[in-house]
Every structure is written in C-alpha cells, then in structure tokens.
Subunit: 401 residues, 2 copies
C-alpha cells in the first residue's frame, strides 16, 4: 500500500511515490453538477436579467435571511467589499479593533474603509477573540470592534456584545466562516450591528465569489443597499458614498444550488472531522482543535496544532512533506496580520507582541476537508502523519544530510 510509508524513502520528499495522484486542497470547493447549473443559467439567459439584484439574488437573500434568522440579508460582490461597505454604512471613524489571528482581508477591509486598525490577540485554546483578549486594547480611542467567528465556531458573540455595550463601542462580525453555525440556540447572522458572511469557493456556502451582509437593523440595511447601488432594492436613504457591490445572477444560481446541498455538505464535513479526530488521536504532538463556541458547527476546517518537540518535526516540515504527497495542507494564519504589510511598518505595531497569534502562526496546520475529500483520503492522510511522526528522526536526519 503506497500510502503506508514504512521507511523514510517511501515518502515522496525522499523519492517515493506520492500518496495521492492529484492535489488535495484545503477548502470546501463544492460545486453543483453541471446539469443543475445549466438549468439555472438557461433561466438567466431566458430572462436576460444578469445582474443588479435579479430574481435569483432576491431569492437567495430571502433564503439566507431565513437560514441566519435575520431580517436583512444583503448579497454583495465579495465579503471583503461587504466588510468595507459595512464599516461605511455604520459611519465608523477612527480606530477599530480586529484580532490579528484572521485572514488578512478582515483588517484590510477596515483600511480600505479609512479606519485605523488596532490588533488584539486571541485565546490560546479556542483561537477566538474573547473579552479577555479584547479588553487590554479597548481604550477610549477605539470606536468599533470587528470580531471574527473562526473555524466554523464562534468567538462567543454574546459576551463580546456585553463588553462592547458597556464600553459604548460598535461591535460587528466577520462571519466569513460562519454560514450555518449556531450558538445559544440561534444561528449566526443577527449579532452585533451586522455580520458579514463569505460565499467564496472555499467556504461552506459557495457562490464562487460573493458575500452577504446581515443585520436586523432595517435602516442600516437600507444604507447598505444604497451603498451597493441596487437601485430600487430598498428605500432610498442618504449614504456617504455608493459603490458597486452588486451580486450577479450567475453567482446567485450557484449559491442557491449549494444552499440546497448545504446539509449534505455539512454532514460530510462532520464525518470527515470525526475521522480525522480519531485518526490523529494516537499521534503524539498533533492536537486537533475542534470548533468552539457553537451549538452546531459546519466543520469547514480541520485545524491541528503541531508540537515540534513531541511530534519530531516542525509544522513547516510536515507541510512540506505532505505537499510532496499531494496533500496541500495550509498554515493559516501566518503570520499574524500585525506582522504583514502595511501594518507591520506602523510604528505602533513594530514592537507589538501578540504571543498567542504568533504561537498559532508557527504551529497550526489545516488539513484537507470538504467536497473533494472522502473518508478513505482522511484515513490515508492520518496514516501519512502517523508515519511522519514515527520516522521523523530519520526523515529530519535525511533532509539535513
């Protein structure tokens, strides 16, 4: 069995046959069958209504609002733009706190919106922003907090809402990972001033590209719709600036089909996540980090922490070894955003030390999960990781030689 690496030279990095004959990526990457998409696209061509808040976009907004249990779901070009539009619609100025352990777009959207980004650290166990990691940076100059619901879990939005209300700062959420995730008996969608979901191809619900801004505040929703420039898609209200955040019918067609398949995809993720958890359980130095703060997770990521000393090789060496086997593991989020341009060059960040973010940036790995992965693949990946641990002394020695 080619995937059961018994000696170091069985590994592809040392000349063996790769365990997989094609690359296995991280990310959901689920697409409907061509036949179903074709039917939807035929309808779009028949109607000749290709963009600008068409009937499919409207249907998706209705259905997503229902899923997220929120009054307004406003589809947008992509989640990055959704966050920029959200900040503009909220009229934010000055400083906004963002966890540094997040996808770079969270912070950069705030920069596009003209805000100054202040970085907070995250919790060592959950990887989420918490009242404890937020409080130290919540000074009087902060006007807003953009919290992130990570890994198909949540940051515990209710406790953050309480703290932010106390301090009089606006709280809103980057829920890019959060479609279908519930906490406290309620799905994500209606917390804080607004929540922004991502419909990128790698996300739980894909529109290829796309996003959605959710809010229970009808007036804020009107401002968002006007900023998006979907003429006629809501009460005309004064906004500071409009843009083009339109969501096309082709995007909506994919998202609607994928919404039908969401329960099946979540069930598949949950099965794979369990299989990984069991398969990696016996391997010293590898710890699967389950999504936290959720009643129900959608398991969009398989996140594991690599303890180099115990495992026998570094996280980066493991990622290189897996890549040679066509297992395209990722190192999210690396480095922390406070260590990326332009933020790292800001004098206020040069000496900024966020120990957990920096630790996670060195030790976390994401393994393939999602529509392109099956239980057999998970089993082979776990076997590979186990063999890498068992033979790590030899592998590291051979690589160094």
């Amino acid at each position: 069995m080619s995937t059961l690496k018994r000696v170091p030279t069985d590994f592809a990095v040392l000349g063996g046959t790769p365990a997989f004959d094609h690359p296995l990526p991280v990310g959901q990457l689920y697409f409907p069958s061509w036949e179903r998409y074709e039917e939807a696209m035929r309808g779009i061509f028949e109607r000749g209504w290709f963009t600008n808040h068409g009937p499919l976009a409207q249907e998706l907004e209705r259905r997503f609002a229902e899923l997220a249990d929120v009054r307004n779901a406003i589809t947008v070009t992509n989640a990055t733009l959704g966050l920029v539009m959200g900040a503009k619609a909220l009229g934010l100025t000055g400083r906004v706190v963002v966890p540094s352990f997040t996808f770079v777009a969270t912070a950069q959207a705030m920069t596009w919106a003209g805000l100054e980004v202040v970085f907070a650290d995250v919790d060592r166990e959950t990887h989420q922003l918490t009242p404890a990691t937020l409080a130290p940076v919540l000074d009087d100059d902060v006007s807003a907090v953009l919290a992130v619901n990570l890994w198909g879990g949540t940051c515990g939005p209710d406790a953050l809402e309480e703290l932010c209300a106390e301090r009089g700062v606006t709280l809103f959420f980057d829920s890019a990972h959060g479609t279908g995730v519930s906490v406290g008996g309620r799905p994500l969608g209606g917390r804080g001033a607004l929540e922004v979901f991502s419909f990128h191809a790698t996300k739980t619900l894909s529109a290829t590209e796309g996003g959605c801004v959710c809010t229970d505040d009808d007036e804020l929703a009107s401002r968002l719709r006007n900023i998006r420039s979907s003429y006629g898609a809501g009460a005309p209200v004064a906004v500071e600036v409009t843009g083009n955040g339109r969501f096309s019918e082709a995007q909506a067609a994919i998202a609607l089909l994928n919404l039908d398949d969401l329960p099946a995809n979540v069930a598949n993720n949950a099965r794979l996540h369990t299989a990984y958890t069991e398969g990696l359980a016996g391997i010293d130095g590898i710890r699967v980090v389950a999504p936290t703060g959720a009643d129900e997770s959608t398991y969009p990521y398989l996140v594991a922490e690599v303890d180099e000393t115990t495992f026998g090789m570094s996280r980066d060496a493991l990622v290189g070894l897996l890549a040679a086997e066509n297992v395209i593991a990722r190192r999210y989020f690396r480095p922390g955003v406070h260590r990326l341009p332009p933020y790292r060059d800001d004098p206020r960040n040069v000496a900024l030390h966020l120990p957990t973010t920096e630790h996670l940036a060195r030790t976390l790995v994401q393994l393939p999960i999602g529509a392109l992965v099956d239980l057999g693949s998970v089993e082979r990946i776990c076997t590979l990781v186990g063999a890498a641990h068992r033979l790590s002394g030899h592998l590291v020695a051979r690589e160094a030689a």
Copy 2:
C-alpha cells in the same frame, strides 16, 4: 401605423397605444447565445477552476491587452473597484480632479480611495474634460487628474497629458466607455498612468459585471495584481493594501465570447447612430452629439441635446413621453456629480457653479442603441420624436390641462 402619432391622443401619455410592446433600454446589453456560453461554462466546470485568475481570465487579459495595444491588462471585479485599486496602486493622496459631468462612480471611487475630489467643468461642444476646463482647478494642492473618455469618444488624452506633465500631476483615465476606441492612430489603453475600462452589461464589451485596468508600467501592474489578490499572477511586490478584486471565469467566458462579436456590435452601433443622425436631422431643437476626439468610435450611446424653446417641450417632458411609448430614454448625467451627495454638502461645492455640466444635465437625452435595437426601431423612435415636436404645443397644453 401605430407609431406614427398624428394627433396628440395617439401618444401613449394621452391614452394611445405604446409604440413598442416591450421596453427598449439604453445600453449595449449584448449577450452571447446560450449555446456558446454553455460550451464555455462546461469547460469551466470540467476544469473546476472558477475564479482567481483562471485560464479564461488570463486569455481575456492577453486579448484585451492586444486590443488596447498595452503591456498589461488586469481584469477586475468591476470598473469602480478598478478605479479605487488604481488610485491605491498609484499611491495617490490629497486632491484629485474629476469632471463633474460623469457617472457618479468616477468620483465615488476616488472617495473610497481616501482622496478629496475637486470638480472640473467640461467642454460645451464635446462634453469632455479639456485643458481649458481643467486648468482653472489645477492648483498646487492637486496631486492627480482622473480624466474621463466619454460617449465612445475621447477627452483628447494627449493634450491633457501635456498639461499634467507640465504641472507635475499624475493623470489617469476612466475609459469605462472606451473599449475599442482609437485616437491618434492608437487605441485607448496605454495613456496616462493607467486606464480603467468597464465590462458592465451596458458597455461595449460586457462581462455582465467586470472591468480592466490597463497600463504600460510593469511595476504598477505588479502592484495592481497584488492589490487584486490574484496570488501567483505576477511578481510579489509590496502594496499598501490588498483586497478582493478578482474576476471570475464565468465573467471571462462572457467577455471572451463578446470580444469575438465586438466588430459586429460596433458595426451595428455605427449603423444605428447614422440612422438616428439622419432621422433626427430635420427636427428643430434636437441636436445629435457625435462622439468626438476619436479616429474610430464604437458609438455606444446616442446622445442628443434638447433645446426646449425650439423643440417645444422640455427634455424631461420628452423623456416622459417616450417612456410611455416603451422607449426608455435616459438623462445622463443628471445632476452633475458636484450636485450629488456627499459632494454637494461639502462647503467647497455648495457655491460651485459648473455652467456646462449643469446645462448638459438639463438638456441631454440618450436614446436606445445597442444589441436590442434595430434600424426599424430607430426609425420609429425618430418618427416619435418628430411627432412630439410637431404636436408639442397641443401635448404640452393637454398635459397642463
């Protein structure tokens, strides 16, 4: 013949039968046949590469660069975002001059980019920004000029380049209307620091939504590609901020098919433009404004000026009368952008008087031209306008009654 309105009550506004049984809009609105699109989309589904600088986006960039005779064509989500990204990639700060007679997104993109917008007037005959209308606002606080190539003509980019070079300010172009337009023996695309084209559904080349930033400056192009976040699509260079300006394969598929059909669509526009010019020539108070400053225009708009006194009714009355006939004429650009929020509330704009922009906002009308229009429709529209002029005294009296 229902379209030949002989008496006032023949007009739909006064109870007659509409001249067209379905709305005839302004804008190109050309889409490939479903069969051709289906073939392209099947390929995308087979490859499973749906976004992030895929093979079709790359092919479109190669072909558009050839069409525009420019070293770099960088496809982006939409032209508004392309203008924002352009301003960021150029590192602009401070004040940027924009003609007030333009689509609101020209100015708003600059606002999104954190710049202060200064409005210039345009030329009375051509509607374009010229050295004469630019010079009065080109003070020492201005760092850049965003000129607009309007109506399938140009603003005379070479003369503007000379003036801006003299004054040491960056010049770049909103060429949203400019795909396929040539001047001085060269297509638009490589003038100034960069040019931004629109691939919106109403434009000469449609990707439903979409745009393209063109530049001969390879380093600037690398910055733009990095801002767009198409990883691997260029040399990694430091940029102030990245975003999500990605152009999907579905967008590229439509644009590539439409690029094949561009010559036929331009020829159709030219035929329709000629027919309008001849058909409206004998009507007092209506003057067709041909695209100027171009060796070859693509005739994406039919622009006419209505002289209320001579024509016998106001531009707005004519638009209302035509709308009832299902001829959805438009009033671009109305009002001038300096009279729109947020700009009108800026103390520097409250007293700003731009006589030509304000005159054009009151008098211009655009009539349907493009893929949904044929010669017979143009003839009927011209007949309608002629009858409206002939019967204007009665119509205005009846309406007032």
